[in-house]
Subunit: 286 residues, 2 copies
């Protein structure tokens, strides 16, 4: 095991030996790569606490990488830190460089990413303004109290549905993703009961099947929660709770950042709700 001599090498060494490490050492390895600042400045005790590990494990970690001790390894993290600082002016230059490249006609991929990141940030800011706490609370109540959760979306909105289905399953809620495979949508829908809840997501141009499904469920008395884009959405009529995310249709490729963050908020809030007031007809871990 040859000891690294700078941060880049160290990163490489950690990555390479990561698979062969014990569970605890892996935990430390992840922390080290994610929060190099903390490793650079903290004491062994402090870092060990942050990683939820004994101080001795930190030394073992350093030793396993070929260092004589923790301090020896820490030097590399410190070196990297000052390096970053001394080069920190270059970041703004990089952005400028990207900006210039962008204006010369052919949109460079890096410029595209930069722009999308900007758009996404703006979307997030709007999201917070357009979502009322009352709606969130109502939706969480419906979800937490439901016997089963059904999620439905298609096309562009489908990732939102698959995320919701995955995340609610992680919370050990009975969740069904209605993907309408093989034209089974009507059949699946019939099994949605009044004590359940139906989560739908759809944006322009609204998928007719989803609209129809929401309307039918609503007519049968099933509570519907809708994630959609603005007051013109046909989903609004069928929804007990409706989240209207003003989706800027001027962009050709609209992003899913806002609806997904909303979805995540629903999941996390539901998790909190369940933790406070557990057991409402659904199973929990033993």
């Amino acid at each position: 095991m040859d000891r690294a001599t700078n941060y880049e090498q160290l990163k490489e060494t950690i990555s390479r030996s990561y698979p062969d490490m014990s569970k605890q050492l892996q935990r430390i390895a992840r922390f080290a790569l994610e929060k190099p600042h903390d490793l650079a400045l903290g004491t062994v005790a402090a870092i060990a606490e942050a990683t939820e590990v004994q101080p001795s494990a930190m030394i073992r970690f350093a030793n396993s990488l070929g260092f004589g001790g923790f301090s020896e390894m820490q030097q590399l993290f410190r070196g990297h830190l000052v390096e970053r600082v001394e080069r920190s002016t270059s970041y703004r230059e990089r952005i400028e460089a990207i900006r210039k490249k962008q204006s010369n006609g052919a949109a460079a991929p890096a410029g595209v990413l930069h722009e999308l990141v900007g758009d996404a940030s703006a979307e997030l800011a709007h999201l917070e303004e357009n979502v009322s706490p009352a709606s969130l609370k109502a939706a969480v109540k419906l979800i937490a109290g439901a016997a089963r959760i059904h999620v439905l979306a298609q096309r562009r909105a489908f990732p939102v549905a698959s995320y919701l289905a995955y995340a609610f399953n992680q919370l050990e809620l009975r969740t069904h993703l209605l993907d309408g495979g093989g034209g089974m949508l009507r059949e699946s829908l019939r099994s949605v009961a009044r004590e359940d809840v139906l989560l739908v997501a759809s944006f322009r141009h609204y998928s007719p099947e989803v609209i129809a499904a929401a309307a039918e469920a609503h007519a049968r008395g099933v509570p519907v929660i809708a994630i959609t884009d603005g007051p013109l959405s046909p989903l609004k009529a069928s929804a007990r709770v409706c989240f209207e995310l003003a989706d800027d249709s001027s962009k050709p490729f609209r992003s899913l950042v806002a609806p997904l963050t909303l979805a995540q908020a629903l999941v996390v809030s539901t998790g909190h709700q369940l933790a406070e007031q557990p057991a409402r007809g659904k199973k929990k871990k033993p």
Copy 2:
């Protein structure tokens, strides 16, 4: 003499009291202002030697500025060091703006959303830092030149795959979503050819099927583009191009904002690329 609370104040205090200092303290003061990094990281002994001064003089210096000891003063230098690094992420201001809107957030749904929006913004900022223009360009080239595009992801990463599949289809590229339904993953994989490209996404804990699939494709000479989380990912070994989004694993519910925005950047950039240099063995609109 009131003790400073941040680096800027400290600088000011030193400048002000400089004229009244003894010769030796002035020497230290100059050193401190010229090499703040050394003050941040070095030990008393080391700094004293660099300044050609006795260690005790360093303590006298700190005391003369109102600090209880050297370590207390050093905290300010350290704080400044990490601040410089973290500030270079440019979006920090926007994040702060969002964070400041309301800070009384507990576990209330609105507070949760607020927090998630903040986290997502931070993720976006990191995304831009961690993605190199070269990787993006290389990935776009691979995608635009491929006969067919295959997309694979499972569990938490699945929404990324479904988004990619949908979006590339909109670009009228031959795109296949390998969802592994009914254990058909191995069979679907066999149809992936060397002139195709395989896009995979996986985060901890990495789905073994996806890892294996990527490795197999790579072994067969199929170019693999991976979206994953950091240098520890087992996908790295199989990838022609690998996007490493340092996913903060300290949060229980990690968001998909960063990978999805990256995915969108790939789609949009590929769109541009195709517009410039059309027709490479794939059909176009009639």
